[in-house]
Amino acid sequence: MSPILFWAFSALMLAFGVSVILNRDPVASALSLVASFLCLAALFVGLDAFFIGVIQVLVYAGAVMVLFLFIIMLLDLKAEKRRSFNKFALLGGAAVTALFVAGLLKVISAFPAGAKPFPALGVASVDDVRQVGLAIFTRFNLPFQTVGVLVLVASIGVIVLSRRQLK
């Protein structure tokens, strides 16, 4: 991936991320999140992870975000009232975030292996869908089945939760 694209997409991703947390209107937040996820998918593609990029678009930017928007509109949520931010939350959040970023920088600066460029691939084109599929159905078969059960349980749970009688 050319560095220009990386810079562009990561900058866009972070900008839309900022937009998510600054917008008071949940619909605007959700749409910013979709944009951020699309940029993230572009970064995935740039890392030769085409399958992950595609399901990022399909599942996240598609299905999950549609669900979010649907719920926001179902509940007819208005924009948050313009209230002064809780000082404690502001300060605490800023402090924790800053500390985290500082720690991250420290790690990166002390991680010389990470400063090397990405090694070249040994093949002309990756068949990553096949590779991921092989990995899932051979080495990770049991976790895969387990996740299937988890999804089933979650869907049953959602049905139960959304019944009217629930008090």
């Binding site: 809780n86 404690f88 605490g92 959040g93 924790v96 985290f100 420290k106 002390a110």
Partner: protein
């Protein structure tokens, strides 16, 4: 053939019981037919067994756990077994025939015959068993079937109670029996009679253990043969149908204890202490029960106490070492006591379930066949010279004479009382005038009931003679019956106490319509039942109040409320720390993660 006969004897009543209780219980005639077929098959096979006098043994492995435990389902036929088999199947067959009429109008007739077959199976199992473990299993089965039969009329509260009482009293004894079996097994490593006998030396080296084991085994006999202090169940067991009383509570089940003692006599023999205790218990039972019998009004209860007393005599006989004599008395007693019970059953049947002897009277004219057979039974029981009881009692008396003056005195006194109370019974019930209108309607019963009476009457006469008993007991066993040296004073004493007892009762009771003698202590059975009741009630109250306190203060107070209070208190305290702000929690969470992060990258 020889090895299959015991299996036929054992299994045919089982087959009948299973068939009746599972399939045929709706059809009374079919149940009766099945039950009769089974009992006569067993009886016939028993007779065939007498064709030879050899010891037959057949067994199949049941549990094999190496050298530690090897259980077999083994059947053993020797002289002792043959005698018991004849008693059980012979009297069983007569009682079955008798019951077809006695129980004719009973709704539970099929159930009755099913239980009767089950009882035959269990009892034959005890008799045939060649090891203690198997004997114990059948011992318990006998307890169960006895429970079923005593409680046959379970809608009557007294019958249900009596069944429970019999079962519980037997449980007490059985616990001892089981402990005894375990002790013997632990010491000798075998539960088979042959194996125990081989390794008996391992037990005799420790005399106190031997005595303990012997006494524990004796506990089983105390329960089944209703010895003091567990005798209380037998009189109450008379709530069951009369044929049951005759079969189970006179001839067979209660004799199982004596039979068992005779079987394991080789274990008891080396321990004089155990034998002494057995003799004393037997003698005390004999005297106490005879005293109680003198003041009872219920015809079946008199016979029940008489049975207790005679069983005491047999146990005392074992205690003085004369197990052959005891088996002989068991053998003769089975016939005349079954006869007496069946005779009383005929009276009860004829008088529409009237059991009080003071409401009978004058039955010698209206029920002549019953009267004659009953008198023969009475004479045999009281020890009239020439009848069966005389010979067998004489054998025990002789053995006691040589061994202990106390036992001899007790046995003699028991004979006196036996003559007294039996004469009282006969005089009041059969002589004099009919004391109530009901008693005038007495009549002899149908042949199915009187024929067994006559057969038993004949046996009561001849079963004491050598030509009859000798051929059944076999040469060797019959010799051990009369092992004691003959002393001519003993029969003379026996006859004189018999005469005194009979004459005394005759003069006291002839022509009376009310009891001239009133001794509340005897009438109320020495208040032993009341004593047990108050003891049990007292213990129960104490236990109950303790449990109540424990439940209230320890379980409810400390454990349940304590734990809930503790949980609540801790929860309340911790709740004060909460500030119920989602973002606050997120902040704390993030802070924790960052701290961990810094600890990692340091």
């Amino acid at each position: 053939m020889e090895t299959s006969l015991p299996w036929i004897i054992l299994l045919s009543p089982l087959a009948s019981a299973v068939l009746i209780l599972l399939f045929a219980h709706r059809s009374k005639p079919l149940s009766v037919l099945l039950s009769l077929t089974a009992v006569f098959a067993a009886f016939g096979s028993t007779l065939l067994l007498f064709s030879s006098h050899s010891v037959v043994q057949t067994s199949a492995t049941w549990i094999d756990l190496g050298p530690a435990l090897h259980l077999t389902i083994g059947l053993k036929i020797d002289a002792l077994t043959r005698v018991m088999l004849l008693v059980v199947t012979g009297i069983g067959a007569l009682v079955h025939v008798y019951s077809t009429v006695y129980m004719a109008e009973d709704d539970g007739k099929a159930r009755f015959f099913g239980s009767l077959s089950l009882f035959m199976f269990s009892m034959l199992g005890i008799v045939l068993a060649d090891n203690l473990a198997m004997m114990f299993i059948f011992w318990e089965l006998v307890g169960v079937s006895s429970f079923l039969l005593i409680g046959h009329w379970f809608t009557k509260p007294s019958a249900a109670k009596a069944a429970n009482k019999a079962f519980l009293a037997n449980r007490v004894g059985d616990f001892g029996f089981m402990s005894g079996i375990l002790l013997v097994w632990a010491a000798t490593g075998s539960v088979e009679f042959a194996g125990i006998q081989e390794n008996l030396a391992k037990l005799t080296v420790n005399p106190s253990l031997l005595t303990l084991a012997g006494l524990c085994l004796f506990c089983g006999a105390v329960g089944k043969s209703a010895q003091v202090p567990l005798h209380v169940w037998l009189p109450d067991a008379m709530e069951g149908p009369t044929p049951v009383s005759a079969l189970i509570h006179a001839a067979t089940m209660v004799a199982a204890g004596v039979y068992m003692l005779a079987r394991i006599f080789f274990i008891l023999e080396p321990s004089p202490v155990a034998l002494g205790v057995i003799a004393a218990v037997g003698a005390v039972t004999a005297v106490l029960a005879a005293l109680m019998a003198t003041q009872q009004d219920d015809i079946k209860r008199i016979l029940a106490y008489s049975t207790l007393s005679q069983l005491g005599l047999m146990v005392a006989g074992i205690g003085v070492g004369a197990w052959g004599a005891s088996m002989f008395h068991l053998f003769t007693h089975a016939f005349f006591k079954a006869l007496l019970f069946l005779g009383s059953g005929a009276v009860i049947h004829a008088l529409h379930h009237e059991q009080n002897i003071w409401k009978m009277g004058g039955l010698r004219r209206t029920m002549p066949k019953t009267f004659i057979t009953f008198v023969i039974g009475t004479l045999a029981l009281t020890g009239t010279p020439g009848l069966a009881g005389f010979f067998s009692k004489d054998a025990i008396l002789l053995a006691a004479w040589h061994k202990s003056a106390f036992i001899f005195g007790a046995a003699l006194f028991t004979s006196l009382l036996t003559a007294y109370y039996m004469t009282r019974l006969v005089v009041v019930a059969f002589f004099g005038e009919a004391w109530t209108p009901n008693a005038k309607h007495g009549h002899d019963c149908p042949p199915a009931m009187t024929v067994p009476l006559m057969i038993l009457a004949v046996l009561s006469v001849i079963s004491g003679y050598k030509f009859f008993a000798g051929s059944i007991f076999g040469e060797e066993l019959f010799h051990s019956v009369h092992a004691a040296e003959h002393v001519s004073l003993v029969p003379i004493l026996a006859v004189s106490v018999f005469s005194i007892g009979t004459a005394g009762a005759w003069f006291l009771y002839n022509g009376r319509s009310k009891d001239p003698v009133k001794i509340p202590l005897f009438r109320n059975k020495f208040y032993i039942d009341e004593l047990y009741a108050s003891l049990i009630a007292g213990t129960q109250d104490l236990l109950a109040s303790f449990s109540s306190w424990f439940d209230h203060f320890i379980l409810d107070g400390v454990i349940v409320r304590g734990i809930s209070g503790l949980t609540w208190g801790v929860g309340y305290t911790l709740r004060l720390l909460q500030f119920s702000n989602l973002q606050g929690y997120a902040f704390l969470f993030g802070t924790g993660v960052v701290i961990l992060f810094y600890m990692l990258i340091k």
